[in-house]
């Protein structure tokens, strides 16, 4: 069965300010879907509307539908009786800056497994090894899991964050410019990781770079002042002239 997340007729207000207006997008397994647009166009708000992170800010109002068709039946993110904590685990999120705590590598990884899933130490260790191998971090850190996570390089920290999210066994990924703070090589490694992950579940990624979007994305939506102004398919993303034109329009 196809795994698909659909956003339909979505509008979001922060207080009296309308940040998103009647947005329709969809993203599916097997593809990386990118959100591009100038800063302040509502990219992050749109991303956060999928796992209801906007709810954490006071004065936010959301209208419209987010439908997650990931398993046997489709669920409404904003439907009655939605378990928001479960929703946020289902649609895992990676942030712009590596969001590690000033604690050890192991603790950073184990925190949600212990307190959200209630796993035992052995189960956590098992997942630790498997997931860190998955993100190609295991060999770098296997001998120093007790060291502070902040001693890792930026790229390693971000891969730790990916591992922490993946260990919760999400069914979709929401990425908020995950390479914005990284250097060239670290960026390429994260991109390769995302490329591998897109076969497993739908990925929606906010991107700050048209180059990266063209390299990685299979589909892109262009946001401007809170509305989708254009949807780009793979061909359009590889059309250099079209991209040049877009860059001039947007930035």
């Amino acid at each position: 069965m196809e795994q698909l997340i659909t956003v339909a007729g979505l509008s979001v207000w922060f207080g009296d300010t309308r940040v998103l207006t009647d947005v329709d997008i969809e993203f599916r397994r097997g593809e990386v879907t990118a959100l591009i647009g100038p800063s302040g166009s509502g990219k992050t708000t749109l991303l956060r509307s999928v796992n209801r992170m906007n709810d954490l800010f006071s004065g936010v109002r959301t209208e419209g539908q987010v439908t997650l068709a990931l398993g046997d039946e489709a669920v409404q993110a904003y439907g009655n009786g939605m378990d928001v904590a479960l929703l946020r685990r289902t649609a895992g999120m990676v942030f712009q800056n590596p969001n590690v705590l000033p604690a050890s590598i192991r603790k950073n990884f184990a925190l949600p497994l212990k307190h959200v899933l209630g796993l035992s130490r052995d189960e956590i260790d098992e997942r630790l090894e498997a997931t860190l191998k998955d993100v190609e971090l295991w060999d770098d850190v296997r001998d120093r899991l007790g060291d502070p996570a902040l001693t890792l390089s930026g790229g390693q920290q971000q891969r730790l964050c990916f591992a922490r999210v993946l260990s919760l066994e999400p069914q979709a990924l929401l990425l908020d410019e995950p390479t914005a703070s990284l250097d060239f090589l670290a960026t390429r490694r994260i991109e390769a990781l995302i490329e591998r992950l897109k076969g497993r579940f739908p990925i929606l990624s906010v991107s700050h770079s048209l180059g990266q979007t063209s390299r990685m994305a299979d589909r892109a939506y262009v946001l401007k002042e809170g509305s989708i102004v254009e949807a780009l398919d793979r061909d359009a993303l590889h059309d250099a002239e079209r991209l040049q034109q877009l860059a001039e329009e947007l930035f």
Binding site: A85, R88, G92, N99, L101, S104, V165
Partner: protein
């Protein structure tokens, strides 16, 4: 011109930093110089063997041991009241309160922080008068009353420290817990409070230091010059405390030798607070280690 200004500014900050060190250094040297010849078991225990005073509860009339025990008990009691209460209040104001309630609590905390300690002492004293005229005619000043009043005195430090340490956390840390499916309580307990622990603990240290040195509150709420030569025996009884002891010696000494005992007591009080600070620092280190593993 600009370069000169910068140099003067840098020079002034160096002078200020060394000034603080120098003042503390002079103070300690002065205290040690005045009390060096009486430092030793004699100062604490008089003629009573220290083992008997510490373990057998023998009465000490010539030493400051009862005041040391009194101050430690007082600090433990008031910290036991103020720290959990201040922590809870700070968490509530920072994480749960609405804007209007937050504004009014902040105002009240400011007012409380501005109350001179002598007024807090008078408040405790009038509470006893009120109790005597109403429900409890036997009520009198004592250790528990002093501890409650001291706790009220240091409560604003604790609330403010907790509140600002939590408020200072970056948005990314606040979003982390929910993004991993943690509840609000889990995020608070597992992510936010540990991340703010340094600031919270510095509030606790400030509170403990203030509780140990305050004189005005306890002189009106139960501290006495001599309480039977022993540390506090029960919560409602009178007690000795170092700051009050120093005050009494300074005010009523007859000979220079007696005054030297006051300087000795001051040095002991300084050592005591320094030890508490070091203890708090070690506690913080071990908490951070525990959080790490």
């Amino acid at each position: 011109m600009r370069k000169w200004r910068e140099r003067i500014l840098v020079g002034a900050s160096w002078v200020a930093a060394f000034g603080v060190l120098a003042v503390v250094g002079v103070l300690v040297v002065f205290l040690v110089a005045r009390s060096a010849h009486i430092l030793g078991p004699q100062l604490l225990f008089g003629d009573v063997p220290w083992t008997r005073a510490v373990f057998a509860g023998a009465r000490v009339f010539d030493g400051i041991w009862p005041a040391v025990v009194g101050t430690l008990t007082l600090v433990a009691l008031s910290a036991g009241i103020a720290i959990p209460l201040g922590l809870a209040a700070g968490i509530h104001v920072s994480e749960y309160a609405g804007p209007r309630f937050k504004a009014s609590v902040t105002l009240v905390v400011d007012v409380l922080a501005g109350i001179p300690s002598i007024v807090m002492g008078l408040f405790g004293f009038s509470m006893i008068l009120l109790l005597r005229r109403t429900v409890a005619q036997e009520a009198k000043t004592g250790l528990l009353l002093a501890a409650v009043c001291i706790a009220l005195l240091v409560l604003p430090y604790m609330i403010r420290a907790t509140q600002s340490a939590l408020a200072g956390l970056p948005m990314s840390i606040r979003l982390l817990g929910p993004s991993l499916g943690m509840s609000q309580t889990q995020t608070l307990r597992r992510v936010l409070v540990p991340a703010a622990s340094r600031g919270i603990l510095s509030g606790a240290i400030l509170s403990v230091g203030r509780a140990a040195e305050d004189t005005a509150v306890i002189m009106l709420t139960g501290a006495v010059a001599t309480a039977g030569g022993r540390g506090p025996q029960d919560l409602l009884g009178k007690f000795e405390a170092l700051p009050f002891k120093i005050f009494v010696i300074a005010a009523e000494h007859n000979t220079a030798a007696e005054l030297d005992q006051g300087f000795g007591a001051a040095l002991v009080l300084l050592t005591l607070t320094a030890t508490l600070f070091i203890g708090a620092y070690l506690l913080q280190r071990s908490l951070e280690r525990r959080w790490n593993n």
